[in-house]
Symmetry: C2
Subunit: 144 residues, 2 copies
């Protein structure tokens, strides 16, 4: 199910530059971080004026956590990862966004967190398309 952005919602330009579009769920835009080091998704509630999770109204917060759950399961099913990392940080990009990252024992940052560890390694087109299509199928997103 695809929702509609709140009037005035615009994706933060840095998030836009660093990611590929998977598509929209009811509340959140789902983005794939363009970093082949880690299968790494970012959910951005399509609302204006949110920075922290506590800024969201209760219904939106519940919906966001439901979508984090759905996306986490899809990412785990597709990647067969050992662990999921879920985080709302937002110290640099203030627009509320939630990271959902598939971690593997022995990956490039294991066992530390992934942020700031090594430069992003952009996907080649084939690998990106394959992952995005697999995610769209699992998430029942019909278009990007």
């Amino acid at each position: 199910m695809s929702g509609k952005p709140q009037d005035g919602f615009e994706l933060d330009p840095q998030l836009d530059a660093d990611t590929l579009l998977v598509g929209d769920l009811e509340l959140s835009r789902v983005l794939l971080a363009n970093d082949a080091n880690f299968p790494w998704l970012i959910l951005v509630p399509m609302r204006t004026g949110l920075a922290d999770l506590i800024d969201a109204v209760p219904d939106d917060r519940a919906q966001l956590m439901q979508e984090v759950d759905t996306v986490s399961r899809a990412l785990k099913a597709i990647t067969g990862c050992d662990k999921l990392n879920v985080a709302s940080l937002g110290n640099m990009v203030r627009q509320l966004h939630v990271h959902v990252i598939a971690r593997f024992e022995g990956d490039a940052a294991w066992p530390g967190p992934i942020w700031g560890k090594l430069p992003a390694k952009p996907y080649d087109d084939d690998a990106a398309n394959k992952l995005v299509e697999a995610l769209r199928a699992r998430l029942e997103i019909t278009s990007g």
Copy 2:
């Protein structure tokens, strides 16, 4: 309201060693990371066998996110922080736990994530007691 640990629940020894006890909410044990660099709380659902958020049954997941919300608001009210960081990582300690961290522009790890940035700086007793008591009052936890 204080809940009861599930039979067989034991706090991970590493989490125990690195934290001070605030007290128990209905689902989660609330811990203060013994690191004066950052006001940093850790919620541990008192359930056995959970590693990822997706491992929790839906009612527990909803309750955990409600408690994350409550604890986030308490921490922000007490510290007046600029930003909250909320994360479930668990690559090293596998027992499901959620970090809730008060961040300040210009703090020792700003704007990066806090993990692994610098050695923990244990609280002196007065500072720890003051923070724990303020948290217990806000969270309506009567005993540790």
